[in-house]
């Protein structure tokens, strides 16, 4: 305790030097006076008295030294001295200080912000028990990599597998609930009873679903998400056991999920209910509507599990050839389903930020080197006066630390800001699919990463001059002053660093160029219809009122007629699935009058109303489209897309041909009446699948999208259209009100590409700037070193042009080397990110040439300024300057 007190006093002493020294001096002075007085009283002469007193006191300086050592902590004191010296040096050189700290801040800010995203998405474990043992289970077909499970298949997989501790299924589903805001559609999910147990999640409140509650006859139960509990029920405890009506069916609330629970595949589901499979789809092995999750048994590898479910799939294929032909199994870690899409992009961005950090660090290191060169003389003097090498090294380490600490504090602050900015740029729809981003922030892992970066930068910055210090020759340093061999040595190291910078900038620029070109290509993709001036919204009519087919058809007709009558609307139509959504909702078809060997001709199936193609402005290539009067009373008719015609009717006229389901059940037979141009049903970067369109009136539903073509401004008409629909029946729920252009623009594929392109382009622009500034630094330094030589040359009659050439040649060689090395690296890097490219080769020549031209041009500009200074050197003053 006493020791600690003494240490603290001494530490305090480090900072209170001046007052203490004065105090001691006064005390010793008074000591001497007292002693002299005594001596005089004892009869000595004043001179003698003073002499004796001084002798008795002992060495004054030793006393002061011993006192000082006791008053402070010597090591700390000299470090503080160095620190003060460094701060003074940095203050005297504001341009250097600001440039260096800003570059460190930029590099650290960008890389920490991106790392924080990588951390929440890829490093932080999912909020389930032992999440690495969870797998995502689906079927797979040659056309659909992740095909949903059918209910009978799920039951068989669950029963016959030997590799899962448990297996459960879920599917996404919205529920219409009567709230104070009218009929509201609320996101939800249906799960089998063991779903939460498989994930290893227990409810915060109430209970989990119990076994058997997911059977058809069981009473309906419901578990709330934490957010729904807070938002809709005010977080009241007594909610458990309360009844609630969803989709006109009574449910009982049995539990509430914990606040940190999220399950990205069903986005922001608020209501979780049991599956309770009714009839219809759940009875048929060919109706695929469920997604599976399973927990691997201890010691079972993913491969072993895959082999086991593949065996089951093959057995089922043999047993049920009609429905299960080519239905394989697919297993993947659950994490890859949740973050699989963003993983390559995040890694790309992390690599980009890392390269930026590298360039920033190299720039700062070379600035430090230049500083070192200009301080050579000072260092040589200090060395000659007896400073140890360790002491000089410590000086550099402290200088590096000051720059890095200040820079990284600024960097950390700006990274916090960048994180929220970046997160804010993600469209809400997509954010719902990334619940893990809620934890974004400076957590301990991110801070450890930041510390590692800081450590690396400090080491780099302090070691570069230290490395040079090793062969500091005192004599040479003092004699040489500012010019000579040492300068040349620096130019050599500095120019190597610049080559690395330029090559790195080249890699980033090429990356940005390729991504930009891919994005451009993506936007050039023909959607197959006119996306401008198109309003879309989803409607859901109550089943009790419109469940009957005739009533549903009547409602559809009323909707279309009413909307068409609105001012500003040109046409309107209905579709069960909108274009640019997904490929899927498929049907297996079999052509009448053709040989059949059980293959699955899998094609997209869409139900659309009569004006659909006209409203989308898709081209009718052959035959005709539906009429409004073609309903259940008329023979079934379909319109096919070009892809279907090409695949199954090459060289034939498809009009008048017929097809049905795989049993060619007479009730399923449909006649082809027209061919339309391909409408892209899936995202812009997906393939076009064969598709056929049913007449809505022959296959009506109560839940579908409305598509409205407007003559002018589309967005402003959205409320008018919604009001018109509500005027028909206020119980109709309307959701997803937007325009087709906005849908296309905010589609995940477009968004991810656009944002990664902008970010990488931003990194590349900064890298270009830093690289060019670095080149400028080297050339300018070299010119300043050679002023005398250039003066001599000019005095001896060299032309200005020759001088220009001399300098530009030096710069050109550096830039060219950087560009060549950079091109090589860029092609390698681009091959690694091939997955992210669209319609663009990694070695895309135009991109490479453009980037090289940009980089070369900027380099030329950067070296032109020092070259002009060299060429305008006045020989007289250059020679006299020495």
């Amino acid at each position: 305790m006493r020791q600690l007190r003494a240490w603290l006093m001494r530490l305090k002493g480090v900072f209170l030097k001046d007052g203490r020294e004065r105090d001691l001096a006064e005390e010793l002075e008074s000591h001497l006076q007292l002693h002299i007085d005594d001596n005089i009283r004892a009869g000595m002469s004043p001179q003698e008295a003073r002499r004796v007193a001084l002798i008795k006191l002992g060495g004054l300086e030793q006393t002061k030294e011993a006192y000082r050592d006791r008053a402070t902590i010597p090591l700390v004191e000299s470090v503080v001295q160095d620190l003060r010296f460094t701060l003074r040096q940095l203050r005297k050189n504001p341009a250097f200080t600001i440039a260096a700290t800003a570059m460190v801040a930029l590099g650290i800010g960008a890389s920490v912000a991106i790392f924080a995203f990588v951390d929440v998405a890829l490093i932080k474990p999912l909020p389930y028990h032992n999440p690495s043992r969870l797998v995502y289970v689906t079927e797979t077909t040659p056309q659909v990599p992740r095909a949903a499970l059918s209910y009978p298949d799920y039951l068989d997989w669950k029963k016959f597998n030997t590799v899962f501790d448990s297996m459960d299924v879920y599917n996404q589903r919205g529920f219409v609930v009567s709230t104070s805001a009218g009929m509201e559609m609320i996101d939800g999910a249906r799960v089998s009873a063991g779903f939460f147990r498989t994930l290893g999640v227990s409810p915060l409140l109430g209970r989990d679903f119990s076994a058997g509650e997911d059977l058809p006859e069981a009473p309906r139960t419901l578990i709330l998400s934490y957010a729904a509990w807070q938002k809709r029920f005010g977080g009241k405890q007594e909610i458990i056991g309360r009844p609630i009506t969803l989709d006109e069916t009574p449910y009982n609330i049995v539990g509430v999920l914990p606040s940190d629970f999220h399950f990205a595949p069903v986005e922001n589901a608020e209501f979780w209910t049991t599956l309770n499979p009714g009839g219809g789809c759940f009875l048929r092995r060919s109706c695929h509507s469920l997604n599976g999750i399973a927990r691997l048994k201890d010691g079972v590898s993913l491969q072993a599990a895959f082999a086991d479910v593949t065996r089951i799939a093959r057995d089922l294929e043999a047993q049920y050839p009609d429905s299960n032909r080519n239905q394989g199994a697919r297993l993947e870690p659950l994490a890859s389903l949740i973050v699989g899409d963003v993983k390559p992009i995040l890694l790309l961005l992390l690599a980009g930020a890392g390269l930026l950090l590298l360039i920033a660090c190299i720039n700062v290191a070379s600035l430090l080197l230049v500083r070192y060169e200009t301080r050579k003389r000072e260092l040589a003097v200090r060395r000659a006066l007896g400073a140890t090498r360790a002491r000089l090294i410590r000086q550099f380490v402290i200088e590096a630390l000051v720059i890095v600490v200040v820079g990284s504090l600024a960097g950390l602050l700006s990274s916090q800001w960048a994180m929220y900015l970046l997160k804010g740029l993600i469209p809400t729809d997509m954010l719902a699919g990334m619940p893990y981003l809620n934890d974004l922030g400076l957590n301990s892992r991110v801070l450890i990463f930041a510390m590692a970066v800081v450590g690396f930068a400090t080491a780099l910055f302090s070691l570069t001059p230290v490395f040079r210090l090793a062969n500091l020759d005192v004599r040479e340093g003092m004699a040489e002053g500012e010019r000579g061999t040492a300068g040349k040595v620096w130019s050599r190291i500095g120019s190597k660093l610049v080559i690395v910078e330029l090559a790195t900038a080249m890699v980033l620029l090429v990356g940005a160029g390729l991504l930009g070109k891919s994005f451009y290509r993506l936007l050039q993709v023909d959607a197959g219809f006119e996306t401008k001036h198109l309003i879309t919204m989803h409607v859901r009519a109550p089943l009790s009122a419109y469940g009957d087919d005739d009533k549903a058809v009547a409602l559809g007709r009323r909707l279309v007629t009413k909307i068409k009558g609105l001012p500003g609307v040109t046409s309107a139509a209905l579709a069960d699935t909108l274009p640019l959504t997904f490929n899927g909702n498929t049907d297996w078809i079999r052509f009448v009058g053709r040989a059949y060997n059980g293959e699955h001709n899998e094609v997209n199936e869409r139900a659309v109303s009569s004006d659909y193609f006209a409203t989308l402005q898709a081209k009718l290539l052959r035959g005709r489209t539906f009429t409004d009067s073609e309903d259940k009373t008329k023979p079934k008719v379909v319109v096919i897309n070009q892809a279907l015609a090409r695949k199954y009717f090459s060289g034939e006229d498809p009009i008048g041909q017929r097809f049905g389901d795989i049993d060619v059940d007479p009730k399923s037979i449909k006649e082809i009446i027209g061919v339309v141009s391909d409408i892209r049903e899936g995202p812009l970067d997906s393939e076009i699948w064969p598709a056929y369109y049913d007449a809505f009136n022959q296959s009506p539903d109560t839940s579908y999208s409305v598509v409205v073509r407007t003559s002018q401004a589309d967005e402003s008409l959205i409320p008018t259209v919604a009001d018109a629909i509500r005027a028909i029946d206020s119980r109709i729920n309307i959701s997803s009100q937007t325009t087709m252009a906005a849908r296309a623009n905010n589609a995940p594929t477009v968004y991810l590409r656009r944002s990664s392109t902008w970010l990488v382009a931003g990194f590349a622009a900064v890298a270009l700037l830093l690289g060019v500034v670095g080149l400028y630094g080297v050339i300018a330094y070299s010119v300043s070193q050679r002023t005398r030589e250039i003066g001599v040359r000019i005095a001896l009659g060299a032309q200005r042009r020759t001088v220009y050439r001399l300098i530009l040649k030096e710069a050109g060689a550096l830039a060219l080397t950087g560009i060549v090395i950079g091109t090589g690296c860029a092609i390698v890097v681009a091959s690694l990110m091939r997955k992210l490219l669209f319609g663009t080769a990694p070695w895309d020549l135009t991109t490479l040439i453009c980037v090289a031209a940009v980089l070369g041009g900027s380099a030329l500009l950067a070296s032109f300024l020092p070259a002009r200074r060299a060429a305008t050197v006045d020989p007289m003053s250059a020679l006299r300057a020495e």
């Binding site: 001691l24 007292l34 002992g58 011993a66 006192y67 006791r70």
Partner: protein, 115 residues
């Protein structure tokens, strides 16, 4: 073992300082030095300067406090005063010192016949 020696010396010097302050009350550095010399019967000849780091150490540890004052012959001087914890510390150290010297003394005492 120079350091061990100095440590012992410093410890002893500290004890002497504390005892001096206890006996004479608040006193300046010069007075303490003179007193130590006098008590030792001029057998201990010390450079007065070495006293000051020791005084500082005692002050840092909280055994004594210092204050500027005026000496009897009207000179400005820094006075040191024993604190309460310093007094206790002195008691403890004095006891330890007595025990130690007693033990050491036994070793050097003329051997008596053992019974």
């Amino acid at each position: 073992m120079v350091s061990a020696k100095t440590e012992i010396w410093q410890g002893t010097l500290a004890l002497m300082i504390l005892k001096t302050l206890e006996t004479l009350g608040p006193l300046h550095g010069y007075g303490v030095a003179r007193r130590i010399e006098q008590i030792s019967g001029d057998k201990l000849c010390l450079n007065y300067g070495t006293l000051y780091p020791s005084l500082l150490k005692l002050e840092q540890e909280g055994w004594i406090v210092s204050e500027w004052g005026v000496s009897e012959n009207n000179r400005k001087a820094k006075y040191y005063k024993l604190t309460r914890s310093g007094r206790k510390q002195l008691e403890r150290e004095a006891k330890e010192w007595n025990q130690t010297t007693a033990i050491v003394a036994r070793f050097f005492a003329p051997t008596e016949g053992q019974s």
